[in-house]
């Protein structure tokens, strides 16, 4: 079985669905002949042709709006927004239509759309290319937000997202697009949505995270283990809606919670997780909840971006803080 990177796994999942479901259409800016600026649609145009793999005009709001129309009339569009910083023009269509068409027509029409978009910083990209604003869409009912943390998970979650009858914003952590290769069987087996994945079991502290920074959290867990601290690492995977049960069960076991995300802190998804645990698991807590997040400032240009993205050391310190005293 060949080992693949996350970006290759994402192309594999789209190829599988294009081959097995004639209603699937991949579209976006430069996704066709070029195979996408990150090559996440590489080879699809050659294999499936210009009707199934479409280079669109350059307009993100248009991409989202045409997806609404196509999906309502029986297609399953899988659209790429080239960078998350260019998602903002599409928010009108995502919020006003895509996420609520099923609801407002009482199920008559629906929007099985996937919007794929790169997520987060750490790749020395230009301005507006390092956003992680998942909480903006997580706030919207009717649409799921999904973020994988490994090639295999990306393959499985993307298949599930394309097959889901409702819209999904699928966030692709650019920093780990090519960081590691993993054996990923191209068997069309989806990974379930709406559940967290426990990446590492532990007893002393629960660390909930998602996306690229999951790799840093796993490193932090190694360092903590070397210091005699056993961390349980949970990959949130479906950022919205949150699988509360897995998180609460873990906190009931460890009594301590650290939430790690790259996005800014204020009204971040970490705040929702903290609130869930405060509401339903307060008496399990042995220490205050710690949040390790990006800062509440503009994501800096790349010379400073690694001081913005939480470091392994910061994560280790936060975990140790829950054990202090």
């Amino acid at each position: 079985m060949p080992k693949v990177t996350m970006v290759e796994a994402i192309a594999m999942a789209q190829a599988w669905e294009l081959a097995h479901d004639p209603s699937v259409v991949v579209l976006g800016e430069d996704v066709g002949k070029s195979g996408g600026v990150f090559r996440a649609t590489s080879g699809l145009f050659e294999r499936f042709g210009a009707d199934r793999v479409q280079d669109t005009p350059l307009a993100e709001n248009m991409i989202a709006g045409m997806c609404v129309g196509m999906a309502a009339q029986g297609m399953r569009p899988v659209a790429e927004i080239q960078f998350m910083g260019f998602l903002y023009p599409a928010i009108d269509q995502i919020v006003n239509h895509m996420s609520r068409l099923r609801h407002r027509t009482r199920g008559r029409l629906s929007c099985p759309v996937v919007i794929r978009t790169p997520h987060g910083g750490g790749i020395h990209a230009p301005e507006h290319h390092s956003e992680s604003v998942e909480s903006m869409i997580a706030h919207v009912p009717g649409i799921r937000v999904v973020c994988p943390s490994s090639p295999a998970r990306a393959y499985g979650l993307l298949l599930a997202s394309i097959r889901d009858p409702d819209p999904v914003l699928f966030l692709e952590p650019t920093r780990i697009y090519r960081l590691a290769k993993q054996e990923v069987p191209d068997d069309g087996v989806a990974a379930p949505l709406d559940v967290c994945y426990i990446l590492r079991e532990g007893e002393d502290v629960t660390i909930v995270t998602w996306g690229a920074i999951t790799t840093d959290v796993l490193q932090a867990a190694e360092q903590l283990a070397a210091q005699g601290i056993s961390a349980e690492v949970i990959d949130l995977a479906t950022v919205s809606p949150i699988d509360s049960e897995t998180i609460l069960d873990s906190v009931a076991k460890t009594g301590r919670l650290v939430i790690v995300h790259e996005a800014a802190r204020n009204c971040g998804v970490g705040a929702e997780i903290a609130a869930i645990v405060a509401e339903h698991g307060l008496y399990d807590l042995l220490a205050p909840i710690q949040r390790v997040t990006g800062f509440d400032t503009v994501v800096p240009l790349y010379r400073l971006e690694n001081d913005y993205i939480p470091s392994v050391t910061r994560i280790v310190d936060a975990a140790k803080a829950t054990l202090a005293g």
């Binding site: 005009p57 248009m62 709006g65 129309g69 309502a72 009482r106 199920g107 009717g142």
Partner: protein
């Protein structure tokens, strides 16, 4: 210097405002029954419209956007479309909706605050009412893309108003439609007023039809108060689109004889003389005169039609008013095909406190 591109916008009209044919009429207009059907559809829409405004005034309906004065544009478009075509409306086009089979009760339910009004029994595939301006044009373009990919001989029709043509979304939809030669017709109903802003302040463009030119789409202006011209023009645009000839922008010139909505007071921003002039060319007059000149319509027959529609509207109003509101749970229904667990928990909470808030209508 040389000219590298030129454009021309034609203005189409078949009947004078007094109902005199200006040229040889299109073939369908030879059929008196067909014209009577269109006249009836306009009268039916107008009868319903007046009742809906009254219902709002008496507290039995929410804010409503009347169609008064634009019945010919709406009926002409409806009559040109096939049932399998796909319509993306704005919020005023009941003449088209009724023609395509949407019921009066459904329209009343929607404006009466009930999502079930968007669950059209017929046609199932048309898009629901669309309040965010211009957004529906992209839905129609997406539908047209689906038809093109599946090689189905179907067209999409997107309505938009004069104000809506200032939105970037409209340009994006036209650009996509032009670039991919999609089977779509954009119908701009230019009723001269975008709430309080007149068309002269909306744009420096001489016509709204020409807004398609930059997207490579031909545009045509039609007298939107001339139902024969609208239907003829739309039929040709749809036939062209259906045969792979690409999109068209049709600008139907009409006038909003009513307030923007029942929440608006147009007397604050436009003068009575202008409205009085517009009443002289309103769309019922010319078709009535043509049909009277052909001896197939008279005062008695029109009154009989009107009485029939009044009874139909009253029955729909009764059905609407006697439809119980949805259960509290309904606000969570159809949010997801596979609802996450939080939905059940919040449903339970909503049920427990249902009726404890401010009294609802």
């Amino acid at each position: 210097m040389r000219t590298v591109a030129e454009f021309r916008i034609e203005y189409l009209r078949q009947l004078s405002p007094q109902g005199r044919p200006l040229d040889e009429l299109p073939a369908f207009a030879a059929d008196n029954e067909e014209l009577l059907k269109m006249f009836a559809a306009m009268l039916r829409a107008r009868t319903f419209d007046a009742k809906a405004v009254n219902l709002q005034r008496t507290g039995k309906l929410g804010t409503y956007a009347p169609c008064l004065g634009q019945e010919a544009a709406h009926v002409g478009v409806g009559a040109a479309m096939r049932p399998e075509d796909c319509l993306a409306i704005v919020y005023r086009e009941i003449g088209t909706l009724f023609w395509r089979g949407v019921s009066m009760t459904e329209v009343l339910l929607y404006w009466g605050g009930d999502e079930r009004g968007n669950d059209f029994a017929v046609p199932r595939h048309d898009f629901p009412w669309c309040v965010p301006i211009a957004t529906q044009t992209l839905h129609a373009a997406g539908a047209a893309m689906a038809f093109k990919i599946r090689k189905e001989p179907r067209c999409a029709v997107a309505y938009i108003g004069d104000g809506g043509t200032s939105e970037g979304t409209f340009y994006e939809a036209m650009n996509l439609a032009g670039a991919r030669q999609l089977p779509i017709v954009f119908v701009v109903v230019n009723n001269k007023w975008a709430i309080s802003v007149p068309i002269e302040e909306q744009t420096a463009a001489e016509t709204l039809a020409q807004k398609g030119i930059a997207a490579g789409i031909p545009g045509v202006q039609v007298d939107g108060n001339d139902v024969i011209a609208v239907r003829d023009c739309m039929s040709r645009a749809l036939e062209k689109a259906r045969n792979g000839g690409g999109p068209t922008v049709v600008e139907a010139i009409s006038y909003r004889l009513s307030d923007h909505t029942t929440a608006d007071d147009a007397s604050r921003y436009r003068n009575e003389a202008e409205v009085a002039e517009a009443w002289k060319v309103e769309p019922m007059i010319r078709l009535r005169k043509l049909l009277e000149s052909r001896g197939v319509l008279d005062e008695a027959r029109e009154q009989a039609m009107k009485a029939e529609f009044t009874r139909e509207v009253d029955a729909a109003v009764q059905e609407y008013l006697s439809t119980p509101r949805q259960a509290t749970d309904a606000m969570f229904d159809h949010l997801y095909a596979n609802p996450p667990p939080y939905v059940e928990a919040q449903k339970e909470l909503a049920r427990r406190y249902a009726g404890t808030g401010r009294p609802s209508h």
